[in-house]
């Protein structure tokens, strides 16, 4: 994991001091509300329906046990003892006070954490694959590249006041994409060219929100050292020409579409020509230096699939279910990647208490070299668990509510905070998630259904990624009442696509029934092991429409 040196520490220390000063001036009436707003947003501080919210940055989702203990302490001391993992691999506090927030930031700085650029119209936390560095699928570990982008984007003087927020995601697996790079402002796919040289395929103009779009490839191959100059060229074109007259048309996706991806790419190339050999061009020495922070932990030479694992799998069906769903293959023999699910029935997705955080920190120390990752599905990954200790770990996490073996299934829901917490909401989203989790709590049925992404947003801002859910649910407002629109066929991985709207919306009480009908159509139409999304792509939306809107006779 990256560790701060004196430079990084100095920057964060000065940031805390700067924000303390800004907060003081705000309370002294020297900064207007309007002037303070972007300053506090760039420090992750929102004001929401019930209280301010503080979004704390977890760079590309990597977290140490020491950091998690600090987060737990902060949650206890300044909040109500629980927090929320977001779909941007960050952590959100729901009830801190504005006065306390500089103090919270000072405490976070002790463990090399901050809230810089977690909100506001600037470059946000760069995200990546939660299995980075441990999956056998990847070309190279993407985290050093994310860290290079983190440093470049932190307090970038030219891009602090962009037309709108800006999100970059990096993926390094040729055949899968857990980072959803096609729905980011910039998506970076790390690739190798024919000569075996590392480089990047660059996408721009993806995004969710009101006008969801899949990103377009603007460069097939960018050499490894050119990453930052090319990003700078894209951002400069966007900063200068992105729309500023209408915030709903201000994302880069609108610019790329208006210009056409080809014309946008040309403009970027022309800008890049002017700066590509500037001192911002990366050096091999810098890449090596950053890579040296992401070396392998002290793995033991272990037997793959030891009896300690296989015996347990054979004798315990529940353990076997969990293992099948929540454990992924590790690049090292004898190790496993474990996903702990924060999707227990009755708990808002992504929520975690201070006590759970403390226990999680202990588990990370005990089983996974003291580190973990937060996923964009709002779960937590222990990346380096010995296979022989999986059973023991499973026993330990069951009582914590982290072992719901529903990863990837219908009830592993992505859900935004919705009307319970968010002032922009048209409708509550958490109760819909709960109703669905309650209705479909039969594991055998869930496993039979296979992988289905169900995503819920409380309004068209799409924080719950409903457009890219195989089943998407969107809260809509009809004459002051809360209704829900369903879309089908969305996906966020390699085969990214946007869902199609099923038809008129439903009341909250109808939702579980409607989902059940949709699933019935799938089960009766599927071929063999066909996944929901593939069946949908084959049969289209009509059979689903007919069934859901059938008139009772």
């Amino acid at each position: 994991m990256y560790r701060y040196d004196d430079y990084d520490r100095q920057i964060i220390k000065e940031r805390v001091k700067q924000f303390q000063g800004q907060t003081d001036r705000f309370f002294a009436g020297e900064l207007s509300n309007e002037e303070f707003l972007p300053l506090r947003l760039q420090n992750g501080l929102y004001v929401q329906r019930l209280a301010p919210m503080l979004r704390i940055c977890i760079p590309y989702g990597m977290l140490s046990s020491a950091q998690l203990r600090k987060l737990s302490e902060v949650t206890r001391k300044y909040d109500k003892g629980y927090a929320h993992f977001t779909t941007r691999q960050n952590l959100q506090l729901n009830w801190p006070s504005i006065e306390d927030s500089p103090k919270i930031l000072a405490e976070l700085a002790e463990v090399e954490m901050h809230a810089v650029q977690t909100s506001g119209n600037c470059i946000r936390n760069t995200t990546t694959d939660q299995f980075a560095g441990v999956t056998p699928e990847e070309i190279v570990d993407p985290r050093p590249y994310c860290e290079i982008i983190r440093q470049w984007s932190t307090f970038h003087p030219e891009f602090a006041f962009l037309p709108r927020k800006f999100k970059i995601a990096v993926n390094s697996c040729p055949d899968s994409d857990r980072a959803a790079i096609q729905v980011h402002d910039i998506g970076i796919q790390i690739v190798k060219d024919a000569a075996g040289e590392i480089g990047y395929k660059v996408l721009a103009g993806g995004g969710l929100g009101r006008t969801p779009m899949i990103g377009s490839v603007i460069r097939e191959f960018l050499p490894e050292l050119d990453l930052l100059t090319y990003l700078e060229a894209i951002l400069r074109v966007y900063n200068r020409y992105g729309r500023r007259d209408n915030k709903y048309k201000a994302r880069i996706k609108i610019l790329v579409k208006a210009m056409s991806p080809e014309a946008f790419a040309e403009k970027v190339e022309a800008e890049w020509e002017r700066i590509k050999d500037s001192p911002s061009k990366l050096t091999l020495a810098e890449i090596e230096r950053i890579k040296s922070f992401f070396t392998e932990p002290a793995y033991l030479a272990l037997e793959d699939q030891p009896a300690a694992l296989t015996d347990r799998l054979a004798e315990n069906k529940f353990f076997n279910n969990w293992h099948h769903r929540n454990v992924a293959q590790h690049k090292k023999p004898g190790y496993a990647i474990v996903t702990l699910t924060l999707k227990k029935l009755g708990v808002p997705p992504g929520n975690i208490t201070d006590k759970q955080m403390d226990r999680l920190a202990e588990l990370a120390d005990q089983y996974s070299f003291g580190e973990m990752r937060i996923t964009h599905e709002q779960n937590v990954v222990l990346a380096d668990v010995e296979q022989g200790k999986l059973f023991e770990l499973w026993e330990a996490i069951k009582s914590l509510g982290f072992a719901t073996p529903n990863l990837g299934t219908l009830t592993d829901i992505i859900c935004c905070p919705g009307g319970d917490y968010c002032s922009l909401a048209n409708a509550k989203s958490i109760p819909v998630a709960e109703a669905i989790q309650e209705r479909f709590d039969n594991l055998d049925y869930l496993y039979d259904l296979g992988n289905i992404d169900l995503n819920i947003s409380g309004c068209m801002n799409a924080c719950g990624h409903h457009h890219v859910g195989a089943i998407g649910v969107l809260g809509v407002d009809k004459k002051g009442e809360e209704w829900y629109q369903i879309s089908l066929g969305g996906a966020s991985g390699q085969d990214a696509s946007l869902g199609q709207i099923l038809g008129p919306s439903f009341a909250r009480e109808q939702m579980a029934d409607v989902i059940e009908k949709i699933l019935d159509v799938y089960v009766s139409s599927r071929n063999d092991d066909e996944l929901f999304i593939d069946t949908f792509r084959r049969v289209g939306i009509t059979p689903f429409k007919e069934r859901v809107y059938a008139k009772p006779n």
Partner: protein, 168 residues
């Protein structure tokens, strides 16, 4: 009270900023030290080129192209860039283009909604003069120039990124 910060001190300002005109070709440009709107400069370029550079400045709005004055830079003692709202960040890119690509070396002044909390970024992008908004105390705003002592990226004030300067 003077509200211009230049070379990190509050100084008197002897320049006048001319407003944009409806009909730039007809705008009367007074004698003396004036900062002329870009549209007027372009519309009356032939005549205005005869002005003494010590008395001549030009200002760009945030949606205007710095390349249009690329050939005229030696005629200006001041180039100003307007921030219609402090949250309009286009001026930062314009400043870097003027400094790094067009190699303008004279005074580069931020005008408009110029506030303490943006000065550090402005300075980094190449501004060396800041006409702080009239209702704010420029002496107080000076502190904003020094919010950070370390920066990661290359920019006008520090052409080498930190990764080329880090000491191990």
């Amino acid at each position: 009270m003077p509200n211009l910060i230049k070379n990190a001190a509050v100084v008197a300002d002897d320049w006048t900023v001319l407003d944009k005109a409806e009909a730039p070709a007809e705008q009367v440009v007074p004698t003396g030290k004036v900062i002329i709107p870009l549209s007027t400069w372009l519309a009356q370029r032939e005549q205005l080129l005869a002005r003494a550079p010590e008395q001549t400045g030009v200002w760009l709005d945030s949606d205007e192209e710095p390349d249009t004055i690329g050939a005229d830079l030696s005629h200006f003692s001041v180039i100003a860039v307007n921030f219609p709202k402090f949250a309009d960040g286009r001026g930062y890119s314009i400043a870097r283009i003027l400094r790094e690509q067009l190699h303008y070396a004279g005074e580069l002044r931020a005008i408009g909604d110029v506030l303490m909390d943006q000065l550090f970024f402005m300075k980094r992008c190449g501004f060396d003069a800041f006409a702080v908004r009239a209702d704010r105390d420029a002496e107080k705003a000076l502190a904003g120039l020094a919010d950070f002592s370390v920066t990661y990226q290359a920019s006008v004030d520090q052409p080498e990124p930190l990764f080329r300067r880090r000491m191990h």
